[in-house]
Amino acid sequence: MTAATPTRFIGTRAPRKEDPKLIRGRGVFTDDVSLPGMVMAAVGLLSENPKPTEREVREGLEGNLCRCTGYHNIVRAVIAASGQDPDEVQGAAIHRVTDAGGVEAAAGFSSGDSAGGGE
């Protein structure tokens, strides 16, 4: 077996796959991302208050209107995103959303007026 010139890999220039976007100004940095208002409000709320109560979540989102989902599940999503158990945090709430999507009276409360529903 004759020794061929060894192929050199170490130190060889290789094109980077990141470059084409970056040199065209199409890179995406955190500053370039604008989230929808509700998500933005949630991020802002959690960065100031990492473990909000349900009331604090509702107050934090009050400038953002939702016309179809309603606010129950959004509030639960924000509580869940904070690492807390929505059922536990909402234990004192008058109503809570069941897994099936319905609304039931929470333990200790009789069915009554719903606070903050989004119909």
Partner: protein, 173 residues
């Protein structure tokens, strides 16, 4: 400009004419990023120290965070998105990639614009002239060595000569 209301300006950005309504306090970089969604122009410091927001105004490199949008009425602005022409990369863009003159890419648009301005004025800059030209642009990851190599390489290509990929004996610390 109006007294304290909205001003109407005509500005050409990347070869496209725009008629825009701008508030008097709006910065050019905000106009580019937020109204025109040209987010390739970055805001690094907002205080004209870092050069990430550099754009060409009538061919001159200017930090767009120091310019009011109302001041570019009638001007021609080129951002990093406008460097390539019909998909063909500008020689400076090709050289930055070939010479590994970028890593995270945040300072890159501003540095490339500054390089285009320099090479428009000086087709054969020395390394000292290149370093002087880019002194208003800060890079936190790549360092300046490969950036200088890239600008020198782009200058060579733009002069229509063969492109030496690496200057010989360029180890100067």
């Amino acid at each position: 400009m109006g007294r304290c209301g909205v001003a109407k300006i005509n500005v050409t950005v990347n070869r496209t004419e725009h008629e825009l309504e701008v508030e008097p306090q709006l910065l050019l970089v905000e106009l580019l990023r937020e109204q025109l969604r040209l987010t390739g122009t970055h805001v690094g410091c907002d205080t004209s120290q870092c050069g990430a927001c550099t754009v060409l105004i009538d061919g001159s490199a200017v930090k767009s965070c120091t310019v009011l949008a109302g001041q570019v009425d009638g001007a021609e602005v080129v951002t990093v998105e406008g460097l390539a022409n019909d998909g063909e990369l500008h020689p400076v863009q090709r050289a930055f990639s070939a010479e590994h003159a970028l890593q995270c890419g945040f300072c890159t648009p501003g540095l490339m614009i500054t390089a285009v301005d320099l090479l428009g004025r000086n087709s054969a800059p020395t390394d000292a002239e290149i370093r002087h030209a880019i002194e208003g642009n800060l890079c936190r990851c790549t360092g300046y060595h490969n950036i200088v190599n890239a600008i020198r390489s782009a200058a060579t290509e733009m002069r229509g000569q063969a492109t030496p990929m690496k200057a010989p004996a360029e180890v100067k610390r």
